[in-house]
């Protein structure tokens, strides 16, 4: 603090400090506190606000725990997000390894460009692209029918569609951390493993994956978090049978008209995501400073 004033002088330092404090207080802290307050209060008509029934309780959170459908959707969102993270990892790992260890500089710069370009494109548009591809009378079904793999069109919309769209949406968040981690692996370690007679799979299992642990953890955590909090993919690629927890939250706000319950659900989602992020990072000893890159 003193350094700030010494470096920039009173006027500038005060401006900087107040901008940052306004941001943190009014945009980061206050909204979250108000959301907690909302989540703990019952949904009352205006006349009863501040009345005897307007007290804090865990009723809204307990409602989620006891309401069968919502609880099932909440749990499904968790494991489906974990599944998205696992699938994205499987899709990305070989390419990350190839880019970090095998590709020539020329191949690498082309590969980086190819993976980054789709991610400059809006998430809604990417999801729209999948919507068109997976449509009932869309190209995928037409091609599969054309080559005789299926007899009748398949309804992709639903869990499968959501999964495909989400893995697609989060590839870059998985690929880059793993690529960065594997890149720092010394090639001579791979050669040593091979010279000692280790088959390819065991070299990966015993040498590459342990080395890339932190990168893999970072990628998985972010993919999980983004998937759990996603709204576009389930809304456009899902079916009524594959609702996502964020859609339930949305309904409390804009269809059910119970903001308190919606706030409680949103708070549950936030706590879940933060817990998963912090625990995973602690377990794999990854520093928050390294993650944000």
């Amino acid at each position: 603090m003193r350094d700030l004033y010494a470096r920039f002088g009173g006027g500038l330092a005060t401006v900087f400090l107040s901008l940052v404090l306004i941001w943190l207080a009014a945009m980061v802290l206050a909204p979250n506190l108000m959301m907690i307050d909302y989540a703990l209060r019952p949904n009352l008509p205006p006349a009863e606000l501040g009345g005897p029934r307007d007290v804090w309780s865990l009723d809204n959170v307990l409602y989620l725990a006891n309401e069968g459908v919502h609880r099932a959707i909440f749990l499904k969102t968790i494991w489906a997000s974990a599944l998205v993270a696992a699938l994205t990892l499987v899709v990305c790992y070989p390419i990350a390894f190839w880019m970090a260890q095998r590709a020539t500089p020329g191949q690498l710069s082309i590969a980086l460009m190819l993976v980054i370009i789709p991610f400059f494109i809006n998430e809604v548009l990417r999801t729209l692209a999948w919507f068109i591809l997976l449509a009932y009378r869309g190209p995928l079904n037409a091609v599969l029918q054309g080559i005789g793999l299926i007899d009748a069109p398949i309804r992709w919309q639903g869990d499968g569609g959501v999964l495909a769209g989400m893995v697609y949406a989060y590839i870059l968040f998985m690929l880059l951390p793993i690529y960065n981690a594997i890149e720092s692996l010394d090639k001579s370690q791979l050669e040593a493993a091979r010279d000692l007679g280790s088959p390819t799979w065991r070299t990966h299992w015993r040498v590459v994956i342990p080395h890339a642990k932190a990168g893999i953890a970072t990628g998985c955590v972010f993919t999980f978090m983004l998937a759990a909090g996603s709204y576009v993919a389930p809304a456009l690629l899902g079916s009524p049978g594959s609702r996502w927890f964020t859609e339930i939250i949305y309904n409390w706000f804009f269809e059910g008209g119970d903001w308190n319950r919606g706030a409680a659900y949103a708070l549950t989602l936030l706590v879940l995501c933060l817990a998963v992020v912090l625990v995973t990072l602690r377990v794999f000893r990854v520093n928050l400073t390294d993650v944000a890159k």
Binding site: M1, V20, W23, V28, V91, L114, V124, L125, L274
Partner: protein, 267 residues
Amino acid sequence: MTTDRIFRGLFVLYLLAFVAYLFAPLVIMGLAAFNESRFPTVIPWQGTTLDWFSAMWADAAMWRSLWTSAIVAVLVVLVALPVGTAAALVLTTLHARARSFAYAVMVSPLLTPGVVIGISTLILWRQVGVGGGIALIVVAQTTFIICYVMLMVMARLQRFDRTQEEAALGLGASKLMVFRRVLLPFLRPALLASGGLAVLQSVENYNTTLFVRGFETPLTVFIATKVRTGLTPAVNALALVIIAATVIGAVAYELARRRQVTRQPRS
């Protein structure tokens, strides 16, 4: 050796499948904009047409949503650049322990799901009677876009040589002048880059915006609504134009950055 060859063959197949996975959806979406079919698809091809582009061009609702997104993006940049820069400067002058705590607080919006940022902003401002709309979209989006600006400015600051400031002070410049004439010009590339990123993040945001939009319809909401209520290839035409603009912008930025690097290799 034969297993090696099989392995390599499989890997090439996987590479091709990966590239197809990345681009097939985008290519199909783009091509469908030229198909006469009322529902956007490429099979069957019912004839090539540019009508969907003119249909898109004539859509007044599309222009309104584009305008909304543009206003929001400009306001977001105007707020996020100064605050993000200030946050980076404050953070770099803090000492170790306070610094890592402040850092955790300041990047926390990046670890918060987008829907939660939208919801908490909506709830807070309802208390003071402000409902969803352009102002709230800007507030909610800047909450986390500031983090990106902060991180990019910090990355640049790490390469700043403080002796330049001392030299300027020694030559009699005021602290304000040192900031304006030494530090700000040094940060310029990072500010331009984060401004570009802020625009991109703002225009493409959906999760957060959805909750605070009120009766406004920014571009992403417009497209998502179209998908559910009446998708025609006009939306594909719009998508194609947006994609072309983003890719051209990204390539131009990358070229400019490379030129900068070759011109002053040591900065």
